[in-house]
Amino acid sequence: MRLPAFAYEQPKNLEEALEILNTRGSAGKILAGGTDLLVRMKQNSIHPEYLISLKNLSSLTTIQETEDGLRIGAGVTLADILKNKMIQNRWPGFYEAVAAIGAPSIQHFRGTIGGNLCQDNRCQFFNQSGFFKGVRQSCNKAGGKTCYAWEGGSDRCHSIFPSDAAPVLIAMDAHVEVQSKNDKRVMPLMDLYSSIGEHPLVLADNEILTELTIPNLTPNVGTAFEKLTYRSAIDYAIVSAGALVQTDGDKVVKARLVIGAVSRGPLAIPAIEPILKNNPAGDEQAIEEAGTIAMKTAEAFIANNMSQPADYRIQMIAVTARRAIKKALSRAGAMEDR
């Protein structure tokens, strides 16, 4: 499979990259690891005139510990994160989310954390070759006016938010830094996502994700990531869930849950907090209820956008949510033990 033609730009530093991005506007696309972008280009789903390589932007490839937590350059490879023992020990939920991405030799060495967070949405009707799509009218995401994933069609795109890294990071209150030629802004990771299937990121054409910051976790906080797949590797999630819980003694004092791979963006489920809060950590009934709430909240967003049947995916939201919460709870306890 050949790539369509494009011009290649290789800025030497961030300033130059931002300058080029500013000039090229929507005709330019950022090339980080390329593991998702190049597939989309081969499939004729996107046609950038310029690819702006981040290869030489060494400023984006550092992992830095600060007083408040961790700063990770957007260009840090997944493999580098997985090599980092500190991350493994102190942010286990994040670590396991990164480990769950794709398969080591596919994504980990070339794939970057910024690339994973900025991954475009997916759909079984969109992420196909031009040949496949040539049989039907273009869908909303491809610039047309229909949605094949929504029964009866829809005027908006019902694609899935696929990032494995984002749900648990959002649960942890991670922030991202975004830069353009004349501006720099920091926002909660959650705000990076528009929940609009056609263009799931809020980034302007001249903006680039530069850094991810993750706050320190106190010892009574547990984080976890759960991903349900058919196979043990390669697969995109059927459902994923990131969870964070904080305990005080035996009691839950804070609970966050973010569901991935179900909706057009990451789906925070704030309703679980009142259910779990002030209850004992081992309250099975509360966890059961939290899973059900997650399922009921997320259910409405399920579209026919992946090959697994909707009914199954809905049920799995509850199961995956519960498993993530339980694992986070046990880690909150485990950290307390230490």
Binding site: Q124, V135, A233, S307, M316
Partner: protein, 772 residues
């Protein structure tokens, strides 16, 4: 006992070194000077009239050399029913229909040209469900055929099933379904066609049937008016076969047509998406099955009706009922058998041969029902199988002559190794299933033969020209071992040549697990002829009795006096470079003494039969429906393990393919359109899904096999699905009747069992069914 020097040894595959160093050339790696690149345009509709094709823009594109449509080519018909032209004209019957083709100076130009071809279609009503297609008002896929039901004779009745039903103490019946799965050869398909100045064809192609493919290609030459011309088929290294290359495909004929029109070599290779949509699948089946036994557990009857979704055109898929009959009539002793199968045209993709050739689908139904019947009869399921096991000397109702039979030993080995009676945790279960398959060729064509030529050189090396095809399974290695053993050579002294129909003898093809048996016997017989001549010459040279002559370790010597010896190379030279000298060559055509099936489908199809039993321990996650394989035992009666290393390869590979068939793999079809034509969404198992497998080899030393060997290429994936389904039932008490057994189907079945308002997932619509 005689010590073997090559047989029974773990000899590495002879081409492994070329593959491990990147030297082996596959079709993708072959380039010819002046070569053009071909590309095919496929249909945009599952069923439509082709109103008009405008190729003007494509032809005008610089770099384009040839553009062809169905109207530009002579009448060529592929398939068992000759219903499939390589480029369609008039109408398309499935999304994979080839509508036009282009040859251009490079692939990019060819692709651009394809996009410039304008086709006007008029959509026709289509039919995707075989049961609907059988109704009289259904749209006709081939109007001239008058009905969508293929006129195939798949119907047999041995004994009296109705009488046996009334005599049965216990009976069960149910419906089982299987869907499309596909071979997923890692090397995608491709061909290069080239004509010489005298209009003879050379085609490099991935095929498992060089001799029959040659015949098909000659037909195409004839259609082009090239009556007396030659067709030479050359196989490069092939990146996996599994049955997919058992018929010629449209792309091969298109490649020839493009090359003929361009008078230049044309290369046409598939990308992965094309491989998924434009090569064929295993046949989907809907099986209604009933079985009964007497009060002691002896099987009395088996009654099966089956509907097969043939797709839009016929290939070998339509003949798979002939192999399904094998387990149906002859897996276990069943005195009364009835079977009827209907193959139905639909606007889906058409099916082909795939490892096991119908046997996995039939065995899934039979072995699932065996467990159900055992439970109903209150008999332990292992014991139930022992009671009914085939035995050596049996002649089955279909007149299959069971010579050697290691089935009882296989069942015992599984029960023992898997420790089936061990106490189980919640969600854990064990299951087993058996298999019978052809192990001594399969006479489905006029000949089941294979030819071998052996040419000895002057240096003690043998060139073996065989009709057998290697797609990665290791036939060249096994043949080299057999010849080396006979001639007292090292395996590396034997060079097996199998790539070229200009030099290799005829063979019906690499199918039916027949190569070790048939090509092995052929090589063995040719080697025996050489050996006899070497012995006679050696006896003369060493001045000893021919009876005392031994060939071993590249030497010829006397049994009575090892010092009286001579290198075989020297003996060869002395016979060659002498007045009246002779070339040391021999040939042999071996055609096993098996029989074509008669009109009643009786006949000893194979010279011997392979048996096996698989057992599996699974753990089912009752929340997610996911199945984990904890332990797997695969016991096979292989006659003799000529090469235990390669035998392992067939078993491990077959079993994992079978697990994919059981649990994860399916071509998702939305009104005839393949929705998952890629490895992300078509779930071939990954290295992380590899299982802990204990192979058990039962050697029964079959007297007709080369050194006693039987075929083992396909059996590994035959009983896998029912073994797993039986284990799932043992684990969580739900009977899974539709493949693949996906997590969502397990959850739906569990809900049904618990009385929640659901009746499982309908295998045809993939929707959860409410109970009526």
């Amino acid at each position: 006992m005689h010590e073997f020097t090559a047989i029974g040894k773990r000899v590495p595959k002879v081409d492994a070194i070329d593959k491990a160093t990147g030297r082996a050339q596959y079709i993708q790696d072959v380039k010819l000077p002046g070569m053009l690149y071909g590309k095919i345009l496929y249909s945009k509709y599952p069923h439509a009239r082709i109103v008009k094709i405008n190729t003007d823009k494509a032809k005008a594109l610089p770099g384009v050399r040839v553009v062809l449509t169905g109207d530009d080519i002579p009448p060529i018909r592929m398939g068992v029913y000759k219903d499939n032209p390589p480029l369609k004209s008039g109408k398309v019957r499935s999304y994979r229909d080839e509508v036009a083709a282009v040859a251009a100076v490079d692939l990019e130009t060819a692709k651009k040209a394809i996009d410039l071809i304008e086709v006007t279609y008029e959509a026709l009503p289509a039919v995707f469900d075989p049961e609907e297609a059988m109704q009289s008002e259904a749209p006709l896929v081939h109007e001239e055929h008058k009905t969508n039901i293929l006129k195939m004779p798949w119907k047999l009745h041995y004994g009296d099933v109705e009488a046996a039903k009334s005599e049965s103490a216990f009976q069960v019946n149910d419906r089982f379904t299987t869907t499309w799965v596909t071979h997923c050869c890692m090397g995608t398909s491709g061909a290069i066609a080239e004509f010489d100045h005298s209009n003879n064809l050379t085609i490099y192609t991935n095929t498992q049937i060089p001799s029959l493919a040659q015949k098909d290609f000659l037909e195409t030459l004839k259609a082009l008016g090239l009556k007396e011309k030659r067709a030479r088929v050359i196989k490069p290294y092939i990146g996996g076969g599994f049955g997919s290359k058992l018929d010629t495909y449209a792309y091969e004929h298109v490649c020839i047509l493009l090359a003929w029109n361009a008078r230049r070599p044309v290369k046409l290779t598939f990308d992965r998406e094309e491989e998924f949509i434009a090569t064929s699948t295993r046949q989907p089946t809907i099986t209604d099955i009933a079985m009964g036994c007497d009060k002691d557990g002896k099987l009395l009857f088996r009654d099966i009706t089956m509907i097969l979704d043939n797709g839009a055109y016929t290939s070998w898929g339509v003949t798979t009922p002939s192999v399904m009959m094998l387990p149906i009539s002859s897996l276990y002793r069943v005195p009364n058998v009835r079977y009827e199968a209907k193959c139905v045209y639909t606007n889906n993709t058409y099916s082909q041969a795939m490892r096991g050739y119908g046997n996995p689908q039939a065995t899934f139904a039979i072995e699932s029902l065996m467990d159900m019947l055992a439970e109903k009869a209150g008999i332990d399921r292992v014991e139930f199988r022992r009671i009914n096991s085939n035995q050596p000397g049996d002649v089955t109702p279909q007149c299959f002559k069971i010579t050697t039979c290691g089935l009882p030993e296989c069942i015992d080995a599984v029960a023992d190794k898997l420790n089936m009676d061990a106490e189980k945790e919640k969600g854990v279960g064990v299951g087993l299933a058996s298999l019978i398959h052809v192990g001594g060729g399969a006479r489905i064509y006029k000949s089941d033969g294979c030819g071998t030529i052996i040419k000895m050189d002057d240096y003690g090396k043998a060139n073996v020209f065989t009709g057998a095809s290697d797609m990665g399974q290791g036939s060249e290695t096994v043949i080299a071992q057999i010849v080396a053993e006979q001639l007292g050579l090292k395996v590396e002294d034997v060079h097996v040549i199998h790539q070229d129909t200009d030099v290799c003898p005829w063979d019906v093809g690499a199918h039916a697990s027949r190569t070790t048996f048939v090509a092995g016997n052929s090589a063995l017989c040719a080697a025996i002829k050489i050996k006899k001549r070497l012995v006679d010459l050696g006896a003369e040279a060493l001045k000893v009795d021919p009876k005392d002559v031994v060939l071993q370790d590249r030497f010829i010597f006397s049994k009575t006096d090892r010092e009286t010896s001579m290198p075989i190379s020297k003996l060869l030279r002395s016979s060659h470079f002498t007045h009246g000298g002779q070339m040391m060559m021999a040939d042999h055509f071996y055609d096993p003494a098996n029989e074509n099936l008669g009109r009643d489908f009786k006949g000893n199809m194979s010279a011997t039969y392979s048996f096996g039993a698989h057992g599996v321990r699974v753990k089912v996650d009752e929340e997610t429906g996911k199945v984990e394989i904890l332990d797997y035992v695969a016991a096979h009666d292989v006659g003799r393990a000529i090469n235990p290393l390669l035998l392992d390869g067939q078993v491990y590979g077959g079993v994992l393919m079978g697990i994919g068939y059981a649990l994860t793999e399916q071509v998702v079809s939305d009104k005839g359109k393949n929705m998952n034509p890629d490895f992300r969404d078509y779930k071939v198992l990954t290295a992380k899904d590899a299982i802990s497998l204990q192979p058990v080899v039962i050697e029964t030393i079959d007297e007709d096999g080369p050194y006693g060997a039987k075929g083992i290429g396909e059996p590994g994936c035959v009983p896998t699905a029912p073994a797993i389904a039986n284990a799932i039932y043992d684990a969580i008490g739900v009977r899974m009747k539709d493949l693949p057994i996906t997590p969502e189907r397990i959850l739906a079945a569990l809900k049904k069992k618990k009385g929640v308002d659901s009746c499982g997932i309908d295998p045809l619509t993939d929707k959860e069914q409410k109970c009526d």
